[in-house]
């Protein structure tokens, strides 16, 4: 499979703290790559460097062979990279439907079609009763699901999921799994950050382990589970 995203030797510091210290990551098209590691190991910082919230001091980030380093977040999004947040960031004071439409406002498709599709997506996940409500009316889990619906409607090719299962009810989590699988079936690629090891093992094609801003291991479930450094730094006994 071809590589969709290449992260090469990136470094990012905050004051004296090196959050990313020479990270390399290659994400193949139509795969699910999970990034795991202890809190503060640099996982979310990596996502922020990919989608333009932070600019790394060193290294390269290429998407479909084109450098995206230094591009603004909205430019990165328009190239086809979407993301969700550790704490869901829905627009709390605006209607749920408009929340879903946020990533397609720059598209040329008619608004009536887009609104219809947004309502269809809400029906798909059983949230149609919230169509006329506002983002702030949704529970934490529903807000996370809404973030995924944005990725659906936007047709992002690469979706960065930051802790999508944290604080989500098991039923909703199962729905999340289905949706991620369906999107992957449609050709989408994921980078997943999660502390939920069951989800990581179930969904991932590749697992990359971070510790103190460095990659300490990468591979399949079994390799990761048996890696001494990973056990010591993250998994424990």
């Amino acid at each position: 499979m071809a590589s969709l995203l290449e992260v090469e030797n990136i470094e990012k510091s905050f004051g004296g703290l090196k959050a990313l210290d020479g990270i390399d990551l290659s994400v193949e098209e139509n795969s699910i790559t999970s990034v795991i590691g202890p809190n503060g190991s640099g996982k979310t910082t990596l996502l922020n460097c990919i989608n333009g919230i932070y600019v790394p001091e060193k290294g390269h980030v290429t998407y479909r062979g084109r450098s995206i380093l230094g591009k603004k977040p909205h430019e990165v999004a328009r190239m086809g990279i979407g993301r969700t947040f550790q704490v869901a960031r829905v627009f709390k004071k605006i209607p749920v439907v408009d929340n879903i439409l946020a990533p397609v406002l720059s598209s040329h498709r008619p608004m009536t079609d887009l609104r219809r599709e947004a309502v269809e997506l809400l029906k798909r996940v059983g949230m149609e009763k919230f169509t006329d409500g506002i983002g702030g009316d949704l529970s934490g889990g529903q807000q996370k699901l809404l973030e995924l619906l944005r990725a659906w409607i936007a047709d992002f090719d690469l979706i960065l999921l930051d802790e999508p299962f944290a604080g989500v009810h098991p039923e909703l989590k199962a729905l999340f799994f289905e949706e991620i699988r369906e999107l992957q079936r449609l050709g989408k690629t994921f980078v997943l950050i999660s502390h939920d090891m069951h989800s990581v093992y179930t969904l991932s094609d590749t697992i990359v382990v971070f510790d103190l801003g460095k990659v300490i291991a990468r591979g399949q479930q079994e390799e990761i589970q048996n890696n001494e450094r990973v056990i010591e730094a993250y998994l424990g006994n």
């Binding site: 989608n51 333009g52 919230i53 603004k72 977040p73 909205h74 999004a77 328009r78 979407g82 993301r83 947040f85 960031r89 829905v90 627009f91 709390k92 004071k93 605006i94 408009d98 929340n99 439409l101 946020a102 990533p103 397609v104 406002l105 720059s106 608004m111 006329d132 409500g133 983002g135 944005r150 936007a154």
Partner: protein
Amino acid sequence: MKTYRKTTLSVIVIATLFLAMVPVLPLSKPYFFYMMFWITMASAFNIIYGFVGYLPFGYVMFYGVGTYVTAVLWSRLGVPLPLAILCSGAAGLVLSLAFAPTLRLKGIYFAIVNFASAMVLRIVVANLPEAWAGGSFGISLSGAYKPLASYYLMLALTVASVVVGLWLSHSRLGIALRCIRDDEAAAAVMGINVSMSRLKAWMLAAVIPSLAGGIEAWFTAIVDPDTSFNLMSTAKTIVYAMFGGLGTITGPIFGAVFMYGLDDFIWGRFPLLNLLVLGVTIIFLILFLPRGVVGSLIQRWPGLRKIIE
């Protein structure tokens, strides 16, 4: 057509017809002129504060520049008034672009810089050569005094500003602005060009009061720096818009109609109490109705969203 859209459009049509008939009815033309003026100011202010969340404490500067551009162009260069008023709008646009870098500031920093900008502009205008800007005495436009024409022009601008608000409310730009207001970083990650969307709103919010300034200069036939750059005009715009409900379309209209009526009533009978009433209203608003009348009604009964917006 959705219910709220039908309701709003019906109210606009009825109100426009009534306001159009005011000059032939035994009603005070200046009263209704200024009511329309404040509806226009509050609706335009709603674009930048209600939609974007930026509070320009020096908002009066756009109006002030509008009054002066019209007055100077007509009195010194002989430019016909309708064209001079259009130039006021263009000047507002240029001014908004000149101050666009201040949009990088947030919250109170933006508010303070904007406030200071209005004060600086007032001093600059007051100190321009008297032969051009009339100094502290200002400029008389008595030779162009046509209250009926300026009344109808203000009516047209008021309707236009409300229609712009309605359009914005459901447009892609309007949704983008509300997203930015709620969470700027998340909006950017969704592909929304934050600075460009904000700049469009800023320009829109600038051009309307500049045009209003030009029309008002024509209506009163006099401009002077103290009135044109009076910071009380910003305060009134904010209070009127807030009283009705920022972020809604009907809110600033209701706020302007009600508060201007109250203001006029108090001013006519108890001139010394006018500022006191304004001050007490601000305290009351912040404490009990932070969302304004319309905003609070919608919050209490969300179903109302279907009939008012």
